[in-house]
């Protein structure tokens, strides 16, 4: 493939690809994103390929390994085009049947998704409720292209935004367009992207750098990973457009070490783009030069912070530095450096192609466009969801997420990663955007969304996030290093029943100091999980401290297991399965837990047959004394 030297050549090339592709020819797409990969999509793919080869169908049926589709709960996902028939939970053994059905133009009924609400099977992907309520403008192409094929991307109109920007727009016009679109940084801060670009463009000093932040490290979040793995060209295209607007000729993509597939696909994408002339010198004949380097992180959460990331690129330990002079002005090696998150860059081609007006029509007053969330936790449909800004939280949890499993009650949703906050049920109808989440004491963050049900202890949740942050704080500044450690200590004490009067106030005081005085956002936002849980679930804290009671029966030290002698049928299930050997009893002898031996693992509670329901959790009150030895004989048929 020769280099493309002008927009016209690009269009010509696109038509050439399309002319070779028959839109009506069946194509089996197999999700190869991280979730499905874990389900064994490699093997599924191999099975499909073998099956097609066996039947000599190479000329009739296409097969394509795509990026993440998002519905990770039900992997491996297989979608048959052009009908978009969606099969969930596909196993290698299903390959033969599916290929057969494609050939015969039939549907494999048993692999279809069943809507739990209606009990009906759903044939087409777009009709599955999980997808139906989404607006997948950024993430949608993931399922339609092979991330390692630049032709796939070009066929879907890829690099047309770059071509348009370079040939029809001045850098100022590109910048203006992005500003008017209202795009805000998707990495967490929500800073208006166009204005950030402007700052770097105006800052004195050469060279200027543009950077993609792909150091996503929030527990449970993998939007950036899936985008980078599934559609790396969209990020590269956005980056190159941004570099053109800013006047930068050198870019970095900082990818964390734990994302090997992202590094692999990205490196391939850069090689391809260079070969095609979308990167390198004189891009598309415009005279604009731009090169990209991949920098692999070494596994520190803090390196996702912009100044720490830049310090890491400089080859030093990734620790944040004071940002009173913004990194947009003095970043890598003190040169103007514009850093945006993966998703932010991926939005740019859409804005250039469709115009700022179109983009700004999606979303709310202060937050435009869509946002990809990683919906995880106690929710039926976990996965990646892309929704327009302003969608009610309830729609995400119930319409897309399918509600809480096991008929449990919703308790809270934690947004914004470990530094975000917990939003309780009363705000479930709030509209999700930057400002609303901040008003509720949480934040957008990079888009983590963890749903919690009634079995979640909010003090323990806060403790969990603080534990994560204590581990990930770089330790440079006193408030973050010492403050988080002390907050964690206090929370651990509360969870262990050692909480004291005044602990809540001390936590609040410490939180304020962290917010005021921390060097970077990690420390400044670290108190968020604590503050929001205190704000919305103060009664739980008080129950822990004053009554030594964990209302959700989570905190081990505050929970005891007790076998109700009136319900116990001496079935021996719990007795046999108790790992600590703490349950005594026997056949026809009512079981009793020796509280001094019990490790509170909960096996007895989980294993006691529901029809007996004899094991109880007790918290905040004394465990009734065990029955005297001579009264333990079970007399059946008493009633």
């Amino acid at each position: 493939m020769p280099r493309l030297n002008s927009p016209a050549e690009l269009e010509e090339f696109r038509q050439e690809i399309l002319s070779k592709r028959d839109a009506n020819r069946p194509c089996i797409t197999i999700c190869s994103g991280t979730g499905c990969h874990a389900y064994g999509s490699e093997k599924v793919n191999a099975a499909f390929e073998a099956e097609i080869e066996k039947r000599r169908l190479e000329a009739e049926v296409d097969i394509r390994r795509t990026g993440c589709h998002g519905f990770c709960e039900r992997g491996t996902l297989v979608v048959i085009y052009p009908e978009e028939i969606c099969y969930v939970g596909v196993q290698p053994e299903d390959a033969a049947e599916v290929v057969q059905s494609v050939k015969e133009n039939k549907i494999v009924d048993r692999l279809l998704y069943v809507d739990p609400a209606t009990g009906k099977k759903v044939i087409h992907e777009s009709e599955i409720p999980f997808y139906k309520y989404q607006n997948r403008i950024v993430f949608g192409n993931n399922r339609r292209i092979d991330p390692r094929s630049i032709d796939d991307y070009v066929a879907l109109g890829g690099y047309s935004a770059l071509s348009k920007a370079l040939s029809q727009m001045s850098p100022e016009q590109v910048m203006e367009e992005v500003k008017r679109s209202g795009l805000r940084g998707r990495g967490g801060g929500g800073f208006p992207t166009g204005w950030k670009w402007q700052t770097t463009r105006d800052a004195p000093g050469e060279p200027k750098y543009v950077i993609v932040n792909c150091d996503e490290g929030d527990p449970g979040a993998y939007m950036d990973r899936s985008l980078m793995e599934g559609n790396p060209h969209s990020v590269l295209e956005g980056l190159t457009v941004g570099a053109y607007a800013i006047g930068s000729h050198e870019g970095f993509v900082y990818v964390r070490q734990e994302y090997p597939l992202a590094v692999d696909n990205l490196t391939t994408a850069i090689e391809q783009a260079e070969k095609y002339g979308f990167l390198g010198e004189n891009i598309l004949g415009s005279g604009f030069d731009f090169r990209v380097k991949v920098h692999r992180g070494a596994g520190a959460f803090i390196s996702g912070e912009s100044s720490a990331l830049m310090t890491a690129i400089e080859g030093k330990v990734g620790e944040p530095r004071p940002k009173y002079i913004h990194t947009a002005e003095k970043g890598i090696w003190d040169r103007p450096s514009c850093l945006n998150n993966v998703e932010t860059w991926a939005n740019v081609p859409l804005i250039i192609n469709n115009g700022a007006g179109w983009y700004a029509s999606i979303g709310t007053e202060g937050s435009k466009g869509t946002k990809i969330f990683s919906l995880v936790g106690k929710v039926n449909n976990t996965g990646l969801v892309e929704v327009p800004m302003g969608i009610p939280l309830r729609d995400i949890v119930y319409k897309i997420g399918g509600g809480i499993p096991g008929g449990k009650r919703f308790k809270a949703v934690q947004t914004g990663g470990p530094s975000g906050g917990c939003i309780p049920e009363q705000f479930l109808d709030s509209r999700v955007d930057f400002d609303e989440l901040a008003r509720l004491g949480s934040m957008m963050g990079s888009g983590g969304m963890i749903v919690m049900d009634e079995d979640t202890c909010m003090v323990d949740t806060a403790r969990y996030f603080l534990d994560f942050l204590a581990d990930e704080s770089c330790g440079k500044c006193t408030p973050c290093r010492e403050g988080i450690k002390q907050m964690l200590g206090i929370l651990t004490d509360i969870c262990k029943g050692r909480g004291r009067e005044g602990d809540i106030e001390l936590l609040e005081e410490l939180a304020e100091v962290l917010r005021d005085t921390s060097l970077c956002a990690l420390g400044a936002t670290a108190p968020n999980p604590v503050l929001t849980t205190i704000r919305y679930f103060r009664d739980e804290y008080e129950a822990h401290i004053k009554e030594k009671r964990c209302p959700a029966y989570v905190c081990k030290e505050l929970v005891s297991y007790y076998i109700d002698p009136t319900k116990c049928q001496a079935c021996m299930i719990c007795l046999r399965n108790c790992p600590a050997g703490a349950i005594s009893g026997g056949k026809n002898k009512i079981h009793v837990i020796d509280q001094s031996k019990c490790t509170k693992c909960g096996s007895c509670f989980d294993l006691c047959p529901p029809r007996f329901d004899a094991v109880e959790k007790i918290s905040g009150e004394p465990v009734p004394p065990p029955l005297p030895e001579d009264e333990r004989v079970l007399v059946r048929g008493k009633e």
């Binding site: 520190a300 803090i302 330990v317 530095r321 004071p322 009173y324 002079i325 204590a470 581990d471 990930e472 704080s473 770089c474 330790g475 440079k476 500044c477 006193t478 408030p479 290093r481 010492e482 403050g483 988080i484 450690k485 002390q486 200590g489 001390l506 005081e509 410490l510 304020e512 100091v513 005021d516 005085t517 921390s518 060097l519």
Partner: protein
């Protein structure tokens, strides 16, 4: 650079653009507490203690003053309620981390923090992770022997792979900067390297005290300015450091400065190069440099000096005051093994020390002498006074000084073994300190100096005068005079007298402005001279030099230097050099005259 005006604690402050709030505040005497800040290091912003509140319009914000650049019109409060509240909690957090660190305790007292509400993990921990040690090592020393390892709560200062690998990663140069800069005393050099720091001993204090690589040689030094020891300065070793530059307000530090040779044209020269002290360690039985408390007279002189290493307190190496002191005369003098001459000053300074020791310590003093030579005005009286003060005089040369005790009272003492020639028996005197009155000897470079100035040395090495009675400050070279101990041991009054004589000799030449040359001096016939330079080589007085004249080399004679000895005329291969009044014609005429008389 532009200047901006801001307000700090109600005070209008002008500061250069690019400086920080902290620097601006300190420039007007407003103190903001800091722990991780150091003037010579890049601001770090880690301890957060230097927080201040800044106001812009109605909005206010807490910022870290060590890194926040000044802005025009900024209003800063360094002790606002919010600042003090936050700072107190930060101090509490640090107190929980390092409860025994003095600097944190002081801060706690200053901010009224009685105790911390937070848990202490390690009550012995002193490190507050301010990073000064690691930063000074990297930024200034340039070796990066230590740095932070671990993240967050695991963070600590360490050397690479400490204790985990069998490889020597010890790049430490044992400069001690880390320990010096540590505000809490947490850093101990022995934890970092097995290397021992080598103190730079002060030459002026006779090695009794250490000095910095940049130092003023001694308090009365002329000129009284600092000098940089290139062999010891870290900058010359690693190319970094330059911390002194940050602190020198006059910007006087110049690392590029080179030694320079100044050439001055003069008419007369007085050589007053002084003496060297005899090194007593060549007499092994005296134990100098073997025993801590065996000192030379000059070392003891520093100890008695109020500006010296002990501020004038007479003490032993371990800080105790001596209970007994021996003063040994004639160490290296009046000794056929070393110098046979008398050093002339030792008797009197020995008496001075005895007097001082008696006055300040009440210690027993023993003077071991051969003869007491108290020859000057009031010297004999001073000798008598010392006798009356209870100084013990033992006539006899000391045989050895040892720490081998032979009795209980000698245990832990230095024993001076000597023959008391008055009593005719051997004595063993246990003392705490021994002062050796080392001989005065000619300087080690005396021979070089002598040849440079065409002077002579006596058998003992001191410079020889032209005539002991008629020309006691003259040398064979006219216009070169000698004075002081370079011409032989002498005390201060004698030195001053001789120096005055030399000065007046020099002045008599200077005031005349001209010198009268000898009548019979050499001269060159330039039409014959080839400029071969043999005359230059042979002349002891450096009178002829070969110069280039009208494009050819010829010898030229400095008539003021020429003594008319004729050596040049003898070696001249062409006969170009002759001595005035001794020309061939003149000698022939003389001979003719003589012969005529005889024949006539």
């Amino acid at each position: 650079m532009d200047e901006v005006t801001l307000e700090i604690d109600g005070k209008e402050v002008k500061a250069k653009e690019g400086t920080t709030i902290l620097e601006a505040a300190r420039s007007v005497g407003i103190d903001i507490p800091t722990l991780c800040y150091h003037k010579a290091l890049t601001p770090y912003g880690g301890c957060r203690l230097c927080i201040v509140e800044i106001f812009r319009g109605r909005r206010s914000r807490i910022v870290t003053s060590c890194v926040y650049p000044v802005e025009e019109g900024l209003v800063v409060k360094t002790q606002s309620d919010a600042v003090v509240k936050d700072r107190r909690v930060l101090i509490e957090l640090m107190l929980a981390r390092a409860p025994k660190a003095k600097v944190i305790q002081d801060l706690a007292n200053q901010y009224g923090v009685k105790k911390t509400r937070f848990k202490t993990e390690d009550p012995e921990n002193l490190c507050i992770l301010c990073g000064l040690c690691a930063r000074v090592c990297e930024e200034r020393i340039g070796v990066s022997a230590i740095n932070f390892v671990g993240r967050g709560v695991e963070r600590k200062v360490q050397t690479p792979f400490q204790g985990t690998l069998d490889v020597d990663f010890d790049v430490c140069i044992a400069c001690g900067a880390c320990a010096h800069i540590c505000p809490t005393g947490a850093i101990k050099l022995e934890d970092i390297t097995p290397k021992k720091p080598v103190p730079i001993l002060s030459e002026f204090e006779m090695g009794l005290e250490s000095r910095a690589p940049i130092y003023i040689p001694f308090p009365q030094a002329i000129p009284n300015v600092a000098t940089l020891d290139r062999d010891k300065c870290v900058h010359f070793a690693t190319g970094k450091c330059r911390i002194c530059e940050e602190f020198c307000e006059a910007n006087a530090i110049d690392f590029e400065q080179e030694d320079e040779i100044v050439e001055v044209e003069v008419g007369t020269i007085i050589v007053a190069t002084g003496y060297d002290q005899f090194d007593p360690s060549v007499i092994p039985q005296y134990g100098y440099k073997k025993y801590d408390n065996v000192l030379t007279g000059l070392e003891f002189e520093r100890i008695t000096c109020a500006g010296g290493p002990t501020q004038g307190r007479i003490q032993l190496k371990d800080g105790r005051q001596p209970e007994s002191v021996a003063i040994v005369h004639c160490v290296g003098s009046r000794d056929q093994n070393y110098h046979e001459y008398c050093s002339r000053v030792c008797c009197m300074y020995g008496l001075k020390y005895a007097h001082l020791i008696r006055e300040f310590t009440k210690a027993e003093v023993y003077e071991f002498y051969i003869d007491m030579r108290c020859f000057g005005e009031a010297y004999e009286e001073f000798y008598k006074r010392c006798s009356e003060e209870g100084v013990n005089f033992i006539r006899g040369k000391v045989g050895k000084i040892t720490d081998q005790a032979m009795s209980e009272e000698e245990r832990g003492k230095l024993v001076v073994v000597a023959e008391d020639t008055l009593l005719g028996r051997m004595v063993r005197v246990p003392v705490d300190m021994v002062i050796l009155c080392a001989a005065l000897q000619n300087r080690s470079d005396a021979a070089d100096v002598a040849s440079r100035f065409t002077m002579s040395q006596r058998a003992d090495g001191f410079f020889l005068e032209t005539h002991p009675k008629l020309a006691p400050v003259n040398t064979p070279t006219d216009g070169v005079f000698i004075a002081g101990c370079c011409a032989g041991p002498k005390d201060i009054p004698d030195t001053v007298a001789q120096a005055s004589a030399a000065a007046s000799k020099a002045l008599s030449l200077i005031s005349k402005g001209t010198v009268t040359t000898e009548a019979a001096i050499s001269h060159v016939d330039e039409t014959i001279c080839h400029g071969c330079g043999r005359c230059e080589e042979i002349c002891t007085f450096h009178a002829p030099t070969v110069i280039s004249k009208n494009g050819s080399l010829v010898s030229s004679v400095n008539e003021a230097l020429c003594k008319g000895c004729g050596a040049c005329a003898v070696v001249c291969p062409t006969g170009a050099i002759s001595i005035w009044h001794f020309s061939q014609q003149q000698i022939d005429s003389l001979l003719d005259g003589l012969l005529e008389v005889q024949h006539g």
